[in-house]
Symmetry: C2
Subunit: 346 residues, 2 copies
DNA sequence: TTGTACGCGTTATCAA
DNA sequence: TTGATAACGCGTACAA
């Protein structure tokens, strides 16, 4: 086992000083052609690579980005990571991933663990519990300590940092307007509780679409799912809530859901109630997931361009890291959504 | 902006030496109660945290695990990451993620980038191109340099390291035997090319099941999909290959597919050809994905317990990292598969 | 042209 | 009880 070789070892072997070796390897012209060749040959032979940790300590830069997300087994988030990794890698950065699992304390712990020198900056999407608590001290602290943050998707407007979001409002509005254009008059909304920022914005988009088409919004048509039913093994609870919605409002002819799971569950319930899709009811879901395409019928969606969000987030963060002195003002980048029509709409 | 505070700064402020501060904070009883209190109070006030990078350099341990996987937008891999992260976090480790995107060179570059001191060990699943090339020098080098590797799922048997796999052979055999038990006599196999280790093993399981039930295997019933059709936007190619299979063998009454995409595509083609599922044809797919449950009809699967694989991988690696001196022999842990019966089988 | 010394932040050993 | 020093691996300013 040949351990990693260091400058010191090379220096010893070659009977020169560490400094000489270092310079020779960086092609400094202080060094004679002769020793340079000798050192480089030796270094190559022993496959010398500078130690990242030593460099990080010296440069006070780790070239590593910390990602904190609520969940990784989720198409949206894994696509964002892919986008981040793509850009980061291209620019010589690594990514370190922490999962909050939607928990405030895990989010805080994870951030503290990374903030002590392990990374240069954060890219994160807030956990639900954090949004509910409205306790953002860990974000402010990080920023105050000079560790920049980029928030994506689930962002906190009060926090001064770069942000990447989709036009949740417009995306939802477009979707509902599509339903209206295709003849729906009684459109239900299946959404999250209001403390989830994106859920709230999408709800507003829904209301706005109805309003601008002079359709009266009815509270009975809006179903706000509580968080506990979001898990894959709590589908029954979710479905029974939706079933009640349909039974209380048998004349629903359109459904807009703020995520994939809600949309698919709604389609499932509708089928169970012997409704034909899209003839009796049409569906659109807000999602970037895989299920939509493979559902029966395939689900029309508002796509969020998750990978693009990741790429943009990484660009923003890296730009800020590499232009620290310039103290540019924070920006919020809005990624366009895209309406993808499939067979759940006419 | 109050920057991160260091031992040196505390020492200066308090007019004591760095060493004293360090000891006081670690509750060394060399230090007088008095100064200890003073230092700790100050440290708490300024929220002192030791710098991870400095610790890493000193201890020659980063407490970070490098994960290299072919793809992250994939339920199996993201579940594995979740499992790794869970165990790693619990033991005070971070995880850094690199994506090979199924490419040999990206795998090598990513590993080299991390191997220079950034991490203590690797958990990885080989890219397809690496398996095809059969060039494993980057793995051997890493191991030779004292950087341990744990391979999962797509493992290389020649490489001396810990491994975590599912019983691909047995899992496939169980699945096919289930089809046989439910009356299938002409069972097709949709698999990968042979260089993908898991595909090959699952193929062997299929053959073994047929053999032990005296069913003759027919080459015409085995479809080996080439890699280029694995992408979500190459579904047409995949589907047309499957369609040919069905048309050439109209009496197929069972299908075993080595992954979710193949299984779902096969079901789709079958429906298109007006076959009823599961009356005319039954399907089982090898997968841990989300699509199976939501498919119509829902797909029976051989589950791989991806998260458990991740957890076990992390345990193996961390154990080895923390018991380096003991030089334990390498082990291969086999995670049991589980047959989950849904509506695509009778 | 080469070598020395310092500093990045920490801990540990040894001297005061 | 406290302080000074070395070491982890590197790059670089400055001295030789």
């Amino acid at each position: 086992m040949k351990q990693k070789v260091t400058l010191k070892q090379i220096a010893n072997e070659l009977d020169v000083s560490i400094g000489t070796v270092s310079k020779a390897l960086r092609n400094s012209k202080e060094i004679s052609e002769d020793t340079r060749q000798k050192v480089q040959a030796f270094a190559k032979l022993y496959n010398y690579r500078p130690n990242n940790i030593a460099l990080s300590l010296k440069n006070r830069k780790t070239k590593t980005i910390g990602i904190i997300i609520p969940e990784i087994v989720h198409n949206f988030f894994s696509k964002v990571i892919r986008g981040i990794e793509l850009v980061a890698n291209k620019k010589g950065y690594n990514v370190i991933v922490g999962l909050s699992n939607e928990s405030f304390s895990k989010e805080v712990i994870n951030m503290e663990m990374l903030a002590n020198g392990s990374i240069d900056g954060f890219i994160l999407s807030t956990s639900k519990q954090t949004m509910l608590n409205q306790d953002y001290h860990h974000f402010t602290e990080s920023i105050n300590q000079g560790m920049p943050i980029v928030m994506f998707d689930r962002v906190i407007s009060e926090i001064p940092c770069d942000k990447v979001i989709v036009d949740d409002f417009e995306g939802a509005k477009k979707a509902v307007e599509q339903l209206i254009a295709k003849g729906c008059g009684k459109i239900a909304l299946i959404t999250t509780k209001d403390y989830v920022s994106v859920g709230k914005l999408r709800t507003q988009g829904y209301l706005s679409a109805l309003d601008s088409h002079k359709i009266e919004a009815a509270a009975s048509l809006i179903l706000k799912i509580s968080e506990e039913y979001d898990s894959e093994d709590q589908l029954e609870g979710l479905e029974s809530e939706i079933e009640n919605l349909f039974k209380d409002n048998p004349d629903i002819d359109g459904v807009f859901a703020v995520n994939e799971l809600y949309a698919l569950s709604a389609m499932k319930v509708a089928r169970k109630l012997n409704k034909t899709i899209p003839e009796d009811i049409q569906f659109i879901g807000f999602t970037d997931g895989m299920l939509a395409k493979h559902a029966t019928p395939s689900l029309s969606t508002v796509s969020q361009h998750a990978q693009q969000m990741g790429e943009k987030s990484a660009e923003l963060l890296i730009h800020r890291l590499e232009h620290e002195e310039e103290e540019e003002s924070y920006q919020t980048v809005i990624i366009e959504t895209e309406l993808i029509l499939r067979n759940s709409t006419q």
